[in-house]
């Protein structure tokens, strides 16, 4: 390639000016040809269904009845936003998201910090810590269900040998939500750890060296060098996790199925019940559209921070 740049004039003259004139047009054509298949796929599988859901959200349609849908205006939205049931699910979701993401962030950052201070075996350690994250939520949910089983679960067995009584983890109101948070934390702490570690290893060494020369205390170094430099990246990870936790469904489905009672019923799970057990498709669509709006707002925030990070 270096040879070509040496003789640009010669090359240009050997291939007549035709490309020069047609290039802008063909570039555009090429861009359209390259982008449209992907866009069409997204429009067909993602936008069109959502527009359909938007339409259904203004009707009383039910997927099991053969009656045509009646237009009900904003009634579905009003019903959902004023429903005490939905408020409770929103609260459950909020507790779950905040609890899980906070625990993951604290633990994940702590592990990353500890790993970053090791000089040997970092690769092996990191690899081992990342295993839970790669597993399917189905596998994770099933296995924790087995481990948390009140009778023959290994957790109760260990607690028993320490002298504690049996805990009915998944069948008691209080502990069920706690179990859900713990399992999600177990699976996703590695995610925060991975990103925090990327941030920690990117902190320039000379900053620490300068601080050492100034005899700055360990805490000072952490507070004034490490944290400010890692924080933006950590925030990205936290927001990402929050979106994922908000839309979580499979773990709830497998671990508790929303029970006992409705104590672990998150918004995602409630939508599922309205849509596939109650077959109130219209209401479920309105519900879904509202959740999509929340996700879009969160994603917008996420992206804004990301852009800030890239520019800064």
């Amino acid at each position: 390639m270096s040879t070509t740049t040496d003789h640009p004039v010669q090359e240009a003259s050997s291939t007549p000016p035709a490309p020069g004139r047609s290039r802008p047009l063909s570039d555009r054509g090429l861009a359209v040809a390259f982008i449209s298949p992907a866009m069409l796929l997204l429009l067909a599988m993602s936008v069109f269904p959502l527009l359909w859901a938007l339409y259904l959200s203004f009707t009383d349609y039910s997927a099991t009845r053969d009656v045509p849908a009646n237009f009900v205006g904003l009634q579905n939205y009003i019903d959902i936003l004023t429903s005490a049931q939905v408020h409770q699910r929103a609260l459950t979701t909020l507790i779950y998201v905040i609890g899980a993401v906070t625990l993951q962030t604290v633990l994940g950052f702590a592990i990353a910090y500890l790993i970053s201070r090791r000089t040997h075996g970092r690769g092996v350690l990191t690899t081992l810590f990342l295993v839970p994250m790669m597993l399917s939520p189905v596998v994770v949910g099933l296995f924790w269900r087995f481990m948390l089983d009140a009778q023959f679960g290994v957790i109760n067995s260990m607690l028993g040998s320490l002298g504690f009584g049996q805990v009915e983890w998944l069948t008691r109101q209080r502990t069920a939500l706690l179990s859900l948070i713990v399992v999600d934390t177990w699976q996703w702490t590695p995610f925060i750890m991975l990103i925090a570690l990327a941030g920690l290893t990117a902190v320039p060494k000379y900053l620490y060296e300068a601080a050492s020369i100034d005899r700055a205390s360990e805490w000072f170094r952490f507070r004034n060098i490490t944290l400010p430099l890692v924080w933006p990246l950590l925030l990205i990870a936290v927001m990402f996790r929050a979106i994922e936790a908000f839309r979580l469904f499979d773990l709830v489905y497998i671990l508790t199925s929303g029970g006992p009672g409705v104590s672990t019923e998150t918004l995602s799970f409630h939508v599922y019940k309205v849509a596939f057990l109650g077959f109130n498709t219209g209401v479920a669509s309105a519900y879904g559209i509202l959740m999509v709006l929340v996700v879009i707002v969160l994603a917008q925030l996420y992206l804004r921070y990301l852009n800030k990070l890239k520019e800064g």
């Binding site: 993602s46 690769g123 399917s136």
Partner: protein
């Protein structure tokens, strides 16, 4: 996994000055190692417990108190996962095969559509490019359980309910947005001057892409495809709502179906979960360098 060790600084980012580490440093290092070891055990115990349960005899699986050591080793659960009771293939092995087809098909489709789009987004000044890219990302963030309601109705009209093609298409849509975001990062790293130079040589823009840029993108494409594979392989929500029959179902709903009855064969669940998870772990290990980018949908890269 390896972002730090292979590319970044070889030593710890906190080089203690000698006098300091001589004094309190040793004791502190011990505390840190112990803490790290405890956390590692806590994180890995469930994984080890799956493995252990998968090779235990049923008697030992349900033993109270739990048996950590000294159980009889058996491979029966793995056999049960693949071979049906009366001989022949088990439902689970069919499900695994379906998973391979669906994951492979959707990844191929997403790569085929996503890579050229990523290149176009990287190279050309398009109208409202930022908005388009945001739109693409936001489709990936949609809650599956919400999307599945209209998709279910749509598939019912089109006859795609309970077909592998239906699953391939919906996974491809989710993966194509990931592929575009992930690949755009890789394309950005290839200088566009290569293409400009090739075009001065008389190649068209398309030829320049095909012959000069594309070969440089192969490692990135491979890594991206692996993440798409993992996503499709692990996906559960669409699989459970859009398919119902044994011969179409993928592995996640099939494994989840094992706990439907009154008694649960946890040994079998453990064995099939192990078989299911191993390919993912192997693949994840292969792309460990790109893990940070992969798990953040290509948004964060170092």
């Amino acid at each position: 996994m390896a972002i730090s060790i292979q590319e970044a600084v070889p030593t710890g980012p906190v080089p203690d000055d000698p006098p300091r580490s001589r004094r309190g440093g040793r004791g502190r290092a011990v505390v840190e190692v112990v803490l790290l070891a405890a956390l590692a055990i806590a994180m890995l115990f469930p994984v080890l417990w799956i493995l252990e349960t998968s090779i235990k005899e049923n008697r030992d699986v349900y033993a109270v108190p739990a048996k950590f050591f000294g159980f009889r080793v058996t491979l029966d659960h793995f056999k049960d996962a693949f071979v049906a009771a009366g001989g022949g293939r088990s439902d689970l092995s069919v499900a695994f095969l379906n998973s391979v087809i669906v994951a492979g098909g959707s990844t191929a489709l997403a790569t085929l559509f996503g890579v050229p789009a990523a290149w176009a987004y990287s190279r050309f000044d398009l109208r409202a490019k930022k908005d388009q890219l945001f739109f693409i990302l936001s489709t990936r963030f949609m809650p599956p359980v919400v999307v599945v309601i209209p998709v279910f109705l749509m598939y019912r009209q089109l006859g795609l309910i309970n077909t592998k093609l239906g699953l391939v298409l919906i996974y491809a849509a989710f993966n194509v947005s990931f592929t575009i975001w992930m690949m755009k990062g890789f394309v950005d790293e290839v200088p566009s001057e290569y293409e400009d130079a090739a075009m001065l040589d008389g190649y068209t823009r398309f030829q320049a892409f095909r012959r000069f840029t594309l070969p440089l993108l192969v490692p990135g494409i491979a890594a991206t495809a692996v993440f798409a594979l993992i996503f499709s392989w692990n996906e559960f929500v669409f699989a459970i709502f859009l398919t119902s029959s044994q011969d179409v179902r993928t592995a996640p709903p099939a494994i989840a179906g094992l706990i439907g009855g009154t008694t649960v064969d946890w040994g079998l669940v453990a064995a099939s979960a192990t078989v299911f998870a191993i390919p993912v772990l192997v693949f994840a290990f292969l792309v460990r360098k790109h893990l940070v980018a992969g798990v953040t949908l290509g948004a964060v890269r170092r």
